[in-house]
Amino acid sequence: MYAELIAIMLMTTIACVVPGVFLVIRGMALMSDALSHALLPGIVIMFLLNRQCTSFTLIIGALCAGLATVVLTEAIMHTRQFKKDTAIGLVFPLFFSIGVILISLYARTIHLDMDMVILGHLVFAPFKRFIVYGNDWGPQALWMMSAVACINGIGTYIVYKELLLASFDDTLAYTSGFRPRTLHYCLMIMTSITCVCAFDVVGALVVVALMLVPAATAYLCSSNVVAMMWHALFFGVSAVWGGCLLAYTMDVSAAGSLATASGAVFMVVFMIHYVHLDRRHDVRH
């Protein structure tokens, strides 16, 4: 059972790292935080419409909420009255608060518990099995996260150069005929799907940690994006190893341990970076 738990954590980390790298280099790190909070009303509304709570319908609901978040944030930025930070800081609390209100009003008695939303139920994940024709294929979460990891990996591989171009210089992307806006929305959809699937496993805030922290750690020691991805995967896997150790020895939240461990890895790499920093060269522009 522990093996399955570790496998789930591994696949979740791998799935999160890919969109995370692009979010970090595009300077959209807090969209992951915004999306993971704003998915809540989508999940709640889907749940209220159809009390079955299957993963697939929840993903659809969360996707709709995610897209609505992105569209509304961009609409606010389009008025040019607020910067991106402010727009994000207005939209996701709105959605999250609406989700909480809906839960309090209509869904208090069911197991859509707020603690679970924030914490995820990683420890329970191995108990929800994927049963096909009477055969037990393993935990549902493992299949789901593996599928997401594959989709993210393959999707990124196929449109890597287009995503890279759109992230670095969207004007050239536009004049070269690659649609930067479409790519942006695709990335947001990928992030939303990853968020909602990982939500279930590790909870809202640890998803953010998994997306951002290994990618940021990799940013400190990579000179190009491909190297950054591989480094981020390595740091993510190290975080899983460290997190499992912490959770097992101290008997604490597995999801929290994962986030803490990724932070610890970041600290180690940062200290090495700091020591090697050329003090004369001002890194801030």
Partner: protein
Amino acid sequence: MNAALVIQELTVAYQKKPVLWHVNAVIPQGIMMAVVGPNGAGKSTLLKTAIQLIKPMSGCIELFGQNHASALQRVAYVPQRLSIDWTFPITVLEVVLMGTYASLGWFVRPGHKERKRALDALQAVEMDTYADTSISQLSGGQQQRIFIARALVQQADLYLMDEPFVGIDAPTELLIVSIMQSLRDQGKTMIIVHHDLQSIDTHFEWIMLLNVQCIAYGQRDRVFTQENLAKTYGKHVAMRI
């Protein structure tokens, strides 16, 4: 032969404030033209409207006689250096390779041919030894050079550049000018937003004076007069021409 750029009654406004107003111009191929004017004159906006990044309120710009996106294949746009994120984790060669993406289309990766083109372009701007360097380590002049290399790789017919000479060293400036002049001699068209009136004489043979409206454009000897400068900048500019 089609003119490189035909601007007809172009008006671009933002929130009721006009940025470009009834601009008309016909710019032929094979020239090097400077676009000059005070701050807020709409120079960058003109370039961005030409590459269809901004939608005009009225009027249009035609590139090589065409009005749609396929014409953009023949245009290379070099943005202001400030608009780029220089902390992006990417190497010099990767930036220059980006100029080849348009010819490759979706899903196809750059191959040996594209790498060779990119390295040749880097050699032309004397940056080939920096191919695997991260762009965060480049100086201002070096940054501008790799953008010129990227534009070269695009093998365009029209080059639009937004203030390429700001904040770069003299050797880089001379190198870029000589590259531009050789492109012009091959029949390409260069339209450059320029900030320094002193160097107009040495670099450009055509000039457009822009201050929301097009004050004058055409051959430098005819257009670059005290009177036109006064109309563009107000009465404060005194130049020894």
